[in-house]
Amino acid sequence: MWEIGGKKLNSRLLIGSALYPSPANMEEAIKVSGSQIVTVALRRQSAGEGSGGNFWKIIKSLGIEVLPNTAGCHSAKEAVTTAQMAREVFGTNWIKLEVIGDQYNLQPDPFETVKSAEILIKEGFEVFPYTTDDLVVAKRLADVGCKIIMPWGSMIGSGKGLMNKDNLIAIRKQFPELKLIIDAGIGKPSDATQAMELGYDGVLLNSAIALAQDPIKMADAFRLAIESGRLGYQAGVMQKREFASPSTPTVGTPFWHQFD
């Protein structure tokens, strides 16, 4: 068990609900992943459509935590308003804060992210901020009261894995008390394992499962990968050495001879 945002959970995988081949596939993939937090969004609705239709019914029926996002926002003002709207619709004070600063690589805007995080925390939100792997931005987010920080592995939807491990390690070392989640850029299960081996508390991903040839099987793979990485971190990885060292005992080696 671990704790995030006041909830005690078993799974350290936070899963997205977009891009699946079908709603049924999404539902099954989320179940198989074992995830207990699913991300959702808000978009304009036409009259008569009614509360997001079938999608929202499926998500509610899963009985897991919902983490609404502010995807598509480009300013603190837009993000704060979206968070307020999400709180009313989804009935949660959790918000995945995304304020995009560049449309090409969907890099978060650090200034607007920190500004909106400060406002939202004062309004009682539990903020899950999506940020880059910049240590100073993480510091600023912690300064305004964020208990959770979500650095990117690499660009959203790129599947490139952990672009800059040294920066991620530095953030982990500087903030042992914060909950750190790798958000974005995960492509394959071993990327998630690596994130967990670095001591990160969890991994948030969507495309890596939804865009796999078999999303349901991939959901299972990520479940195992994240568990494995966490266990590896807890077990303590051996120190690297600059020389070879045989693992088989050398005493009693047959045909042994002294080197000249």
């Binding site: 997205g16 977009a18 304009r44 609705q45 929202w56 308003t81 009313e88």
Partner: protein, 67 residues
């Protein structure tokens, strides 16, 4: 009549409508959405006391898939 924008579409509606009346006029009868006027959130409890004005930009949002 006044002109307003609803989810980016121009609409002509009667003057002095509150949000509650506006939603009825626009046939938003179902629950499960949230509303903003000019990028400011309007809570359900304030629908009856918020009057729509000429040029207001209304956004009505509902749950969708997200990452």
């Amino acid at each position: 009549m006044i002109k307003i924008s609803v989810n980016g579409e121009m609409k002509e509606v009667q003057e002095n409508l509150n949000i509650q009346a506006l939603l009825k006029t626009l046939n938003y009868t179902k629950e499960g959405f949230a509303l903003a006027v000019n990028t400011s959130f309007i809570a359900i409890k304030n629908y009856s006391i918020t009057i729509i004005k000429e040029g207001d930009k209304i956004d009505i949002l509902a749950p969708v898939q997200g990452g």
